[in-house]
Symmetry: C2
Subunit: 370 residues, 2 copies
């Protein structure tokens, strides 16, 4: 094989496929990037058996062929080459010579035959979103998937299509995050659970531009994202996702309108008095026109008041401050509305159109704190 590409193009493509290279594996071939120049295009592929990425590389094929190169070493070499044309040549023993200007690297390659190619997916049903929107809705929900694998379904996000509405949901047993997006065209109803890792990695590759599109295809076991010169294929998580609709109530006893930035800064200040392991709640007292936040710990105590608009009853309620911070951080609105029922019922932070809904369970603080 002999190919020639600019360093810039190589680096761009390497950075994309690196996202599906596992850091540790029992199959060394998976730690490789496959360079496939056997047909008309140069393609890089990586595959950790759950997530696979294929991307086209701009360049010239001088001699057709296939080689698998250690991903870490290859990416490091590409990163440090001068900004110029790079030629990659392999010999029959799979030794690979990478040259750029006067620099010559020699590294061993592996046979492409051992590599796990991406599964073939029939592309029939498809929805289309802007890369900006997909990146945003991932960012705005991914934080509330479960960190540990005790319940596999909680480590993924529900992607649900109902006519022309796409809904993305994540939950971890203490909170639920929901974002809704209007699609341009109605599609077949679908409910799939996508691994959180897939969504995390894909959001790093997405350009985030509103003009760039991404096409999403589904099968019973896989989801495929197609955008720019890249295809990302991921396994789905099997099983029935949690029935969340029955948890979403629109009843409330107290409604609060608050400046998001003030609220967030105040909780952020309060948290410096608690270690993550402490599980100290922040106590919120809502009265007419003002919200008082209060936290008490071994380190010290804090007390702060924020002006609010209130409808309904006064309420005293406790929360894990982290859950409030996580939700507030990803909301773009300047002012948010909070709906509360009683100190034991979940609180909702949502907008009028319910384009976003954050449900957070309160913490029982009577026993702990007062």
């Amino acid at each position: 094989m002999k190919i020639s590409c600019s360093k810039g193009n190589l680096l761009k493509s390497v950075n994309i496929v690196m996202k599906a290279v596992p850091s540790k594996t029992t199959m060394p071939i998976l730690e490789c990037i496959l360079i496939d120049a056997s047909a008309g295009d140069i393609k890089f592929t990586s595959n950790d058996m759950e997530l696979g990425i294929e991307t086209k590389v701009e360049g010239t094929i001088i001699e057709k062929g296939i080689i698998a190169l250690d991903a870490k070493i290859f990416s490091e070499i590409v990163r440090r080459l001068p900004e110029n044309e790079v030629v990659i040549t392999t010999d029959e023993k799979l030794n690979t010579l990478i040259t750029c200007e006067k620099a010559k690297f020699n590294i061993p390659g592996k046979s492409g035959e051992d590599f796990s190619y991406l599964p073939f997916i029939e592309r029939d049903e498809c929805i289309t979103l802007s890369q900006f929107t997909l990146k945003e809705i991932i960012r705005q929900t991914i934080f509330s998937i479960a960190a540990n694998e005790n319940n596999k379904l909680m480590t993924g996000e529900l992607i649900q299509i109902q006519e022309d509405t796409l809904r993305i949901v994540s939950l971890d047993g203490h909170r639920i995050s929901i974002r809704k997006v209007q699609l341009k065209e109605a599609a077949k109803d679908r409910k799939v659970v996508v691994p959180g890792k897939t969504l995390n990695e894909i959001s790093k590759i997405l350009s985030g531009e509103a003009e760039d599109m991404v096409h999403i295809f589904f099968t019973d076991s896989h989801i495929v994202f197609e955008f720019d010169d890249t295809v990302v294929v991921s396994r789905l998580i099997e099983g029935e996702y949690f029935k969340i609709d029955q948890m979403l109530s629109s009843d409330y006893e107290t409604k609060v309108k608050i400046n998001k930035r003030e609220f967030l800064n105040c909780i952020d200040r309060a948290t410096l008095l608690v270690k993550e392991s402490d599980k100290k709640p922040i106590i919120i007292q809502i009265s007419d026109g003002s919200m008082e936040l209060q936290i008490d710990s071994q380190i010290g105590s804090m007390d702060e008041e924020i002006d609010i608009e209130k409808e309904g009853k006064d309420i005293l309620i406790g929360f894990n401050p982290k859950f409030l911070i996580d939700a507030l951080k990803v909301i773009d609105d300047e002012e948010v509305s909070i709906y509360l029922m009683n100190p034991k019922a979940p609180c909702f932070i949502k907008d009028e159109e319910e384009q976003y809904i954050y449900l957070i369970l309160p913490v029982n603080f009577n026993a702990v704190n007062r």
Copy 2:
């Protein structure tokens, strides 16, 4: 005690004194910042018994007093307060109330009496430098102090004054870094060894501006840096520093002029093939008009040529690439001159006026590598 300062002024001063707060100590009082508002000024002090920092804080004393506050908590609180006026009030039980806008923090304080004040230093001999120069010469030498404490003197830097010349030297047994600075006025001859930690911390506080000055005072056991509203006092390292002058020879058999950036990038590329623990040398072949760099490891091999100007003999010599990188990184010249004697003698990278001299010992690669 009751004082009032802007959040910005508080934060600036806290960040300065934090540099002398030890992260771990058996004396909890040392983990505090002392706020001294007992006289006309508000002063913050920190002291880890080797390094002490005192800085004046702009603000108003409403009621005189002294308090010691846990440095980590106090700095975190200040960092997250709104940008406004902050009032710090202590009561007779040393409880401290920090208020800013509607935020109120309550933390316990400690008595200032237990705090170790900075030693009193008579300020007679003094040299003056710009903060820019001091910061630069520290950056350009600090990397070659020894990392471990086996030889205490190697963990510090020699500061030597001879008439109107200041020389700063660091060495770790494999290399020596020297910078020379012309002083505006001659001063008394001095030779002191300053702990590397002191120089590291002080360079973080220095503004780096050429117009801002720093005054340096010496005693037999201490060095004092005075600049802006800050005084830094450090113990010296006791003992006789290494006699380096006999190692500095101006003889050479080969002299090379090379583009610094090209040389640095090339070595940087080569190092990706070696793990730090490998101790693989980079082999340099110098001939007329060109330098060939070559490295070989289990991962692969690299080979690159760079155009040079050469005087004298051809030479084949090996180096620890890290030592070359460290020195080249801090040299500002576009082109550097390298002086070599033979494959077992130290090489010198230096400028004509010897404002900087980097001595690097070569590595014997015959046994290891060829």
